[in-house]
């Protein structure tokens, strides 16, 4: 631990990176760190909330289109059955 204390006590005497690649950690004060973390947490919460809104919006759009597509498919099926029935009735009426 002596190398730490020596750096703290006498920063001017600290070795430069050019000497042996060592660079002392200056660090941030606790207040700045807490402020940065709070901002990061707030930004993360906002982004998560935004994505939740975006997913709901996109989901609703495509669910509506898919629902209408299914409705059209059901109508087409009903029309096919109706057409087949009409054809049967016409064939029955035409036969002697």
């Amino acid at each position: 631990m002596s190398w730490i204390t020596s750096d703290l006590r006498a920063p001017a005497e600290a070795k430069t990176p050019a000497d042996d690649g060592y660079e002392p950690v200056t660090g941030l004060d606790q207040g700045t760190v807490q402020c940065v973390r709070a901002c990061e947490a707030e930004a993360a919460a906002k982004t998560a909330s935004d994505y939740s809104h975006v997913v709901w919006a996109y989901g609703v759009i495509w669910a509506l289109f898919a629902g209408y597509g299914i409705l059209l498919w059901q109508r087409a099926s009903a029309q096919r059955i109706d057409t087949a029935e009409l054809r049967r009735r016409i064939d029955r009426g035409a036969s002697p």
């Binding site: 906002k46 982004t47 909330s49 935004d50 994505y51 809104h53 975006v54 709901w56 919006a57 996109y58 609703v60 759009i61 509506l64 289109f65 209408y68 597509g69 059209l72 109508r75 087409a76 029309q79 109706d82 057409t83 009409l86 009735r89 016409i90 009426g93």
Partner: protein
Amino acid sequence: MLARLPLVLFAAAALAIPYSVQRIFLHTGIEKKMGTVQKIFYFHVPLAWIMMALAVACGIAAAIQLRRRSQLAESISIATGELVLITGLAVLVTGPIWGHATWGRAWTWDARQVSTGLLWLIFAAFVLLRRYGAAGSERLAAALAVFGAVDVPVIYYAVKIWKTTHPSTDVVGSLPPQMWASLWPALGALVCVTLGLLLVRIRQEQDQAGLDEAWIALDTGGK
């Protein structure tokens, strides 16, 4: 060729949807004021444009139906009316979701929201009247559709005439090129899907009219 057009449009949409989504989320920057939630814009705004275009088309088709009793115009008015209901609901749901995140309130009763809600209610009445109305109600429904189309300019100019929470119409024109490059594919994808569904529905309505006539002719012995 016309019969296969919906399939071509759906195939184009199947390519355009993933392309537009990856453009929106991976290649378009996050808007500074609103953040990530602004990405709802790329589908909300084109849907609103499509809804207004369909409402105008429905009004024109209904007016032709009233004047000339054209079967094709009637089929177009029914199909466009139903799609105004679908796209309108999508606009009325995605808008408040966006508003909830941006304005802090889903519904602010601003002029554009109210006029869009009114348009949706008019076309809901049109669709219900077409589906459950008694004989002769198709003329009343057509008049409602014309009335609904008149609401479209009100929606467009609402932000200019009244003080609203919605941004002005100039915002879209002043978008940076990067946002336009993401808006076009989204608009294209939605137009392909809507047009495909519209063509299918028009064809169905015409087939149904033909079937009804055939049944009547069969039951009356072709008299």
